[in-house]
Symmetry: C2
Subunit: 549 residues, 2 copies
């Protein structure tokens, strides 16, 4: 246990010397003895008094320890004085002289001599310096020693006074004040050894040419993920997951404003739909079930059930044995589906409006978090077009032409593979000054069976992908809403319509024209912030080799 | 195909009689013949003219069919005139005489004679009567016949004029107007036979004593769920799922306002945690994974990772082979976890505030939807206490005493089983006039290993359940945040701490005191509306016997 209990000084044993009586003494002897006895008595009294004083002092020390420092009861929940705690973020020099109470992590503690302890205290993305100084009747040496010995990452409850900082403290995010501690209690300590310090885990990720020391201190991704709970405490990660929450909220708010209904579709399915190869099999009582690799079928059935416009935020599962920087076996899908009145570009334009809303809101409302992340992950600011010309839309053919112009052999471009995507992203950024664009009209052969063909050229389809920094973040299309056509397309792709009869039935019962798309939440987060690996955008990522923590 | 294409009248064969030439005729004969020829020519000309007229007329009929009725192109997405569609809900008598365009389902269609067709057109929870009348040059007999033959549940695009209804039309939700149709097109038809009509599926659920006819028309739950896409189209279900969306939003908004962060935790886990018995096993590449039966561990780890206050909305999986009215194998958990400053009642009170916010917001903002559901599912209005005395809070002991007073033998009340819960609900409603209450301080023996014991009486725990209409809808507690105590508790419950080391590690690295709870979304919805079966509150429910649709 690194959280040391205050060592109690045992009350000193009072050195009381009892006077010993002897038999048949002489008078002078008696006198002498009496004198000696008196002397002894006095000495004893003195000793007793001394002992009492020392005992009192020791007792006072114990009270002091209980009152001013030490470990709080494990259970908490014993009384409720309703004392309010302050957030580090709200500390300002205007509070100079004000008493405050706060709960925080000990990011670092450092003794200076035997009379001063410097702390950096941390709450989420904020930190402040705090100072404990030995002073008569207020802060004992013992208390300072105990506090200086607190392990990094201990959680403490601190009472103190806000002081303007004599100069800006660079080691803390709130650098213009410090806290002068009068009391400090341990709420929760550390057991064992930290896998790495939060300070080391917060160092900037440098692209190359690091110093040997920097390389040594660098915490590798795998080490971070194995100890994700500590890794998540960096200000960077606190910001990343505030931004993840924000993206979800912007998605929802925008769609709620457009008349969408949020749905929750089952992840357990009776058949391996869409593409059986990448589906996880589940033991389901005496039979099997399969994990949904998207809410595609369910959201389309919701359209057939008159929901008009639906979205879902939920896990999707992909049993693909690939360990790239952008694939996980479980991720959060932001999915939507909507009825079309006249043309599938209604969907494409709504999706574009949605992305612009997310980008704008992130920049407007979360600049502090974005800045926090950038300190560790330096990146060019994410660019999109705001002018009257709107978002760049290329047809698949135009995208291919751009790549061919850039030197990619046309024969290699039946599909645009991942390296070509990245290359296209660079070409587009240079030519159109945007990190965000749309490719429309993919060849029918590249899309799933439920994609609606182009009415004029059946080799093309009414489908689109959206890109951020040269990586796909959304795939979508107008869907086939006619049961006969759907069954034909299934057969053409080698799927037996009988295995998906419940899905086909939905269309047999009448379904309006519709389209939609699916966004990977973690991809948007990774690419907006340029985190370079999707695992950094997932709380507890899952890949073929990782199921814990 | 029930959606009949308009039959084209073939253009009539023009009856042209050719004049036949003969050899060597006399002059008079010639004259006669010339006259005859002229006559024939005239007749031919007349016939040709007649034929042309008829052809013109037929052609006009075809144009008329294309213009005024018929099936729209399957693909849509060919042109984009951007004509705006109206919502039935926004139709009012003030719009009398206004032209409108709308897309809707044909709920019913009925021919009256050969010249009039009455429709009830439906959009989600609204419906309106529409009327097609044969009139020269506007609505042909053919068009009326075609329209009258449209199958129920066809989707049509209708152009017409709003008219004040001569009297309130009871068969529609918007009863004070009707639409006089000038054009009608089929967007999507029906293939095969409807399993039941949406009208039948919308009839009130009567408790008992139904007429034989009512019983016959009643659509059984299993039939509904087998054909969920049609069942979901009832105005009742449209309202139910709008309310489901609303509850999720109220949950989120309230917690966002209280400084919570939304998280997404993985559903795939490396070990069968919490209680292995009710966990689904997944084939995971060359090994196995397990489906999370709650985000309990992940949300606690998020607290250890300094997230302070977190919530999650996501699927939870229970491999329990029970087919009750309130269990599903997959449902949506509304889960939250928060740091405690002084006392676990901080959590209990926040949860209470959350429920009151949900109840109040539902009543204030969704009275139309609640009324819609009540037409099919009659229920006493859901009651809660709004006075200064606040929500009723009973200790487990007090709840047991109430049941004993009511005649339940005390020996049977080590736990409060489902029938006793229901009974308690009735007792509380009678005595305290509320359908919503809290039971606090459950015996430690009834709660999982991660529950914090009561500091004064270790046979009790800092845990609570929330109830609606006598059924549990939330279970929560203060959690053990100390790794040593947690490992001891695991051993005491027969769990090997080594199997959950990643979880224990989170607490070894320092974790603040915290507590939380989990709410079943579908249960709240079912109990607020009194739907009597949880499957009605789930879009596509899953139970041991149902994995489709």
């Amino acid at each position: 246990m690194a959280d040391t209990e205050p060592t109690q000084t045992p009350p000193p044993n009072p050195a009381v010397e009892g006077a010993e009586a002897s038999k048949g003494p002489s008078k002078s002897e008696l006198k002498k003895r009496t004198k000696e006895a008196e002397k002894a008595k006095k000495a004893a009294e003195k000793a007793a008094k001394q002992a009492e004083l020392e005992a009192q002092k020791a007792a006072a020390e114990v009270d002091f320890a209980t009152e001013f420092y030490g470990k709080l009861p494990l259970n908490q929940s014993q009384s409720r004085p309703r004392r309010s705690r302050i957030q580090i973020a709200s500390l300002t020099p205007e509070l100079d002289g004000q008493p405050v109470l706060l709960r925080a992590r000990v990011q670092t503690s450092r003794m200076q001599g035997s009379k001063m302890v410097f702390f950096v205290l941390r709450q989420r993305i904020d930190s402040v310096q705090a100072l404990l100084t030995v002073s008569e009747g207020k802060v004992s040496k013992q208390m300072a020693k105990w506090a200086g010995g607190l392990a990094m990452e201990s959680i403490v409850l601190v009472e103190g006074t806000v002081k303007k900082a004599p100069e800006i403290i660079k080691s803390a995010t709130v650098g213009n004040v410090e806290i002068h501690i009068s009391q400090i209690h341990l709420i929760s300590g550390i057991e064992g050894i930290l896998p790495f310090s939060v300070e080391d885990a917060s160092r900037p990720e440098l692209e190359a040419e690091e110093s040997e020391e920097a390389q040594f201190k660098r915490v590798l991704l795998d080490t971070r993920l194995n100890n994700r709970v500590v890794d998540l405490r960096t200000t960077t990660n606190q910001a990343v997951f505030k931004l993840q929450h924000a993206i979800g909220n912007f998605f929802r708010d925008y769609l709620d404003g457009q008349g969408f209904t949020e749905i929750h579709s089952p992840k357990l399915q009776g058949a391996a739909t869409e593409s059986g190869a990448s589906v996880f099999k589940v033991s389901y009582f005496k039979g099997n079930a399969y994990l949904a690799q998207s809410p595609q079928l369910a959201k389309q059935m919701a359209i057939a059930a008159d929901f008009e416009r639906v979205y879902e935020i939920g896990p999707v599962f992909r049993a693909e044995d690939s360990n790239t920087h952008r694939h996980m076996t479980e991720f959060i899908g932001l999915d939507l589906e909507m009825t079309i009145e006249e043309h599938y570009h209604e969907v494409l334009e709504l999706l574009d409006g949605l992305f612009l809303h997310m980008f704008r809101s992130l920049r407007q409302k979360y600049s502090k978090e974005i800045e926090t992340v950038r300190k560790q992950f330096p990146a060019d600011e994410f660019k999109w077009r705001e002018g009257p010309e709107g978002t760049l839309k290329l047809s698949f053919k135009e995208a291919v032409d751009l790549l061919v112009e850039d030197g990619v052999p046309r024969e290699a471009l039946d599909d645009i593979d991942t390296p070509s995507e990245k290359r296209l992203g660079r070409i587009v950024r240079e030519k159109y000054e945007t990190d965000y664009f749309i490719i429309d009209k993919f060849p029918m052969g590249l899309r799933p069976f439920y994609t609606m063909p182009d009415p004029e050229d059946p080799t093309l389809s009414n489908s689109y992908d959206f890109f951020m920094r040269g990586e796909e973040i959304l795939s979508g299309a107008q869907r086939v809403h006619d049961a006969t056509m759907l069954a034909e397309n299934m057969r053409a792709k080698g799927i037996d319509p009988a295995t998906m009869s419940f899905y086909l039935d939905a269309f047999r019962m009448g379904c309006p024209p519709h389209g939609g798309g699916g966004i990977g939440l973690e991809r948007v987060l990774m690419l907006f912030l340029k985190l370079n690996n999707i695992r950094r955008a997932s709380l507890f990522p899952r890949d073929p080799k990782r199921l814990e923590p």
